[in-house]
Amino acid sequence: MATTTFERWGRELTIAGAIVLFLLPLIGIPGKTYLTLTIAGLAMGMLLFLVASGVSIIFGLMDVINFAHGALFAWGAYVGFSIFQRLMNWVEADSVFQNFAVFLIALVAAMMVVALLGIILEKVIIRRVYGFHLFQILITFGATVVLVELIRVLWGPNDEVMIVPLTFSRNWDILDIIVYRYRVICIVIGLIVYGVIQFVLKKTKLGTIVRAGVENRDMVQAMGHNIFLLFTGVFAAGAGLAALGGLAMSIFSRQVYPDMGSTYLLFAFIVVIIGGLGSVTGSLVGALIVGLSYNYVAYLVPWAAAGVNVLIMIIILLIRPTGLFPAGK
């Protein structure tokens, strides 16, 4: 489908809605707190984007709803946790360089381990149920149970306090507003990842083939591209994104627990339903909406924070059932 008037109208509606959403809470929140909450909301939104984009791309290309994405997310957090434990002196060192170095090491390790898990998952389990949504959900749900239990076996069943590299726990004081450094880092990570995904999809040949595959898998095969290799690669990339999200989120919330994936998977689903399954930009917009509204509402009516996202999701489903940025199919 080309950019129709309706779609453009929808985009304007989204922008207008986002601005209203941004400003409305000012009624009940003092200005400074509002800014702090906004930064927290953007940071959380970016982290949710990391999880949701994987779900969205995997669905877009492979037509697979991956309920194991949350478990991969948790694995990412735990692998990072282990690396931090091993390299404790780098984590505690009062050196920005060493702190970032250890973060990068943890990140690479987490993404590699989880991408490998993703490859195994795709090749051994998911490949058997292509085209059968019901069995996909069942089997990836089963995989979640196994992966989460493996975390309990390997790392123990209890919640742990996440170790945080020293720089990440500091904050800046800008005009009397306290800005947590890590939140800004999260926003930057999210923007970089969005940029990289967009670059790969729009500017590289591989990305072009992936986008073509989203539209018409058979045709891409008939043009001589090994779609199954592509599937495995995209699944591994999605898993890697989940790992990145898991590690970043665990530093954000300062804890790891075996079942952490299910909570964030839920957020990811809400995000992709709002944004439109299969669209990366939709995931970003959806994630920011969820992150911001969660933080505003958590301040105003603490117990309703999780509910407001479901409510937004229901409203979106009523007015635009395919989400704000429906992917072309």
Binding site: I65, F67, I125, R128, V129, H133, L134, F135, I137, L138, I139, F141, G142, A143, T144, V145, V146, E149, L150, R152, V153, D259, S262, L266, F269, I270, I273, W303, A304, A306, G307, N309, V310, M313, I314, L317, L318, P321, T322
Partner: protein
């Protein structure tokens, strides 16, 4: 005589099955077992286990109406169960008093609330894609937990509500001994729940064997074909989903009667109840209704006696720490079992056995 046509074979099989077949006696045997449990094994542990199996088997069957007969996966079944539990708890506990009328009203409220919510969710999700049902129910179930915990002045929050039963169901009630067993309120509750579940189960059997049920199976197997035949698939799916969810809510109410309290952790924990139900339906076999009994019995019995098994393992193999760890994490084994069953026996225990028997029968008929 000419070769029997497939329809004739089917009829012959049906007739055989009716009263004389092994499966008929098996069903009678299972019923008798559950009737006798309070007399033969009066300890709380066994009676509770039997009760849990009965309730979960019925709950799994109601889940199977959605999954096996409609092809819709819901993660909100635990929530409907919880809604039923809370409705009954509100009416005879927090906002009412223990009376038969309130108990009945509780069940009516449960059914009405569940059907309203089921209609809403179906409308929201089926408009887009059937898979949205799974995602949306997961989200709404989470919302329900948040609401139940958050609106604490209304729902009793994390502490939940404890309730006392009216009249003959009250814990203190007793009508004396019968065949060596004191017939207390809880024994009567056991039989009341047992009969209710039996009734619900028969109702579901009737539902799936009705013309409506057959249309549902046609839709599950091939949506396009059913649509081409002129069926409004949307309507049929909604009817079936609502039916399954209402049954789940009623079982939730019965569950509240049995345990005597409800709280978000016990009644609304999506993951725990859903996980159990999913394991049971997959292991038992979807699309059979009876699969729930096998699945529920297998899972609950294993879970109940697992601590004993662990102790046994520790006594016999005190050195094998790996074994202990794995037994400690029994869910890992169930998860692997779950995946294997989905891949290799997608019909579960009951479905695979049924396949085997019908294959044997066709071979036998062919020889005759």
């Amino acid at each position: 005589m000419a070769e029997p046509t497939p329809v004739q074979i089917f009829r012959i099989e049906e007739k055989r099955k009716q009263y004389r077949s092994g499966s008929f006696f098996l069903k009678i045997g299972i019923l008798a077992l559950f009737v006798l449990v309070p007399f033969v094994f009066p300890s709380y542990k066994t009676v509770d286990l039997a009760m849990q199996i009965i309730m979960f088997a019925t709950l799994v069957a109601s889940f199977d109406i959605l999954l096996g007969y409609t092809g819709i996966l819901s993660f909100g079944h635990g929530m409907f169960f919880g809604i039923g539990a809370y409705c009954v708890a509100f009416l005879i506990g927090k906002y009412g008093m223990p009376s038969y009328l309130n108990l009945a009203l509780g069940f009516v409220t449960a059914a009405l609330t569940a059907s309203a919510l089921a209609l809403l969710i179906s409308f929201l999700s089926l408009r887009v894609k059937a898979i949205f049902f799974a995602m949306i129910t997961l989200a709404i179930a989470e919302l329900a937990i948040v609401l139940a915990t958050g609106l604490s002045h209304f729902t009793g929050g994390e502490d939940g509500i404890s309730l006392s039963m009216p009249g003959i169901f009250a814990v203190s009630f007793s009508i004396g001994d019968f065949m060596g067993l004191e017939i207390t309120g809880s024994v009567l509750t056991y039989y009341f729940i047992f009969l209710s579940c039996l009734g619900l189960f028969l109702l579901m059997l009737r539902f799936t064997h009705s013309p409506l049920g057959r249309v549902l199976q046609a839709i599950r197997d091939n949506v396009q074909r059913a649509e081409a035949l002129g069926y409004k698939t949307f309507i049929f799916q909604i009817i079936s989903i609502t039916f399954g969810c209402v049954v789940a809510a009623i079982i939730g109410g019965l569950y509240a009667m049995w345990v005597g309290y409800v709280n978000p952790a016990s009644s609304l924990e999506v993951m725990a109840i859903m996980l159990n139900v999913l394991l049971m339906v997959i292991i038992g076999g979807m699309g059979t209704l009876y699969g729930g009994i096998v699945g529920a019995a297998f899972l609950l019995i294993t879970q109940t006696f697992l601590p004993d098994l662990q102790n046994l393992a520790k006594d016999f193999f005190p050195q094998a720490t790996l074994l202990h760890n794995v037994l400690e994490r029994w869910l890992l084994l169930f998860g692997i079992l779950f995946i294997l069953v989905v891949i290799f026996f997608p019909k579960g225990v009951i479905g695979s056995v049924q396949d085997y028997i019908s294959r044997r029968k066709t071979i036998l008929l062919g020889k005759e």
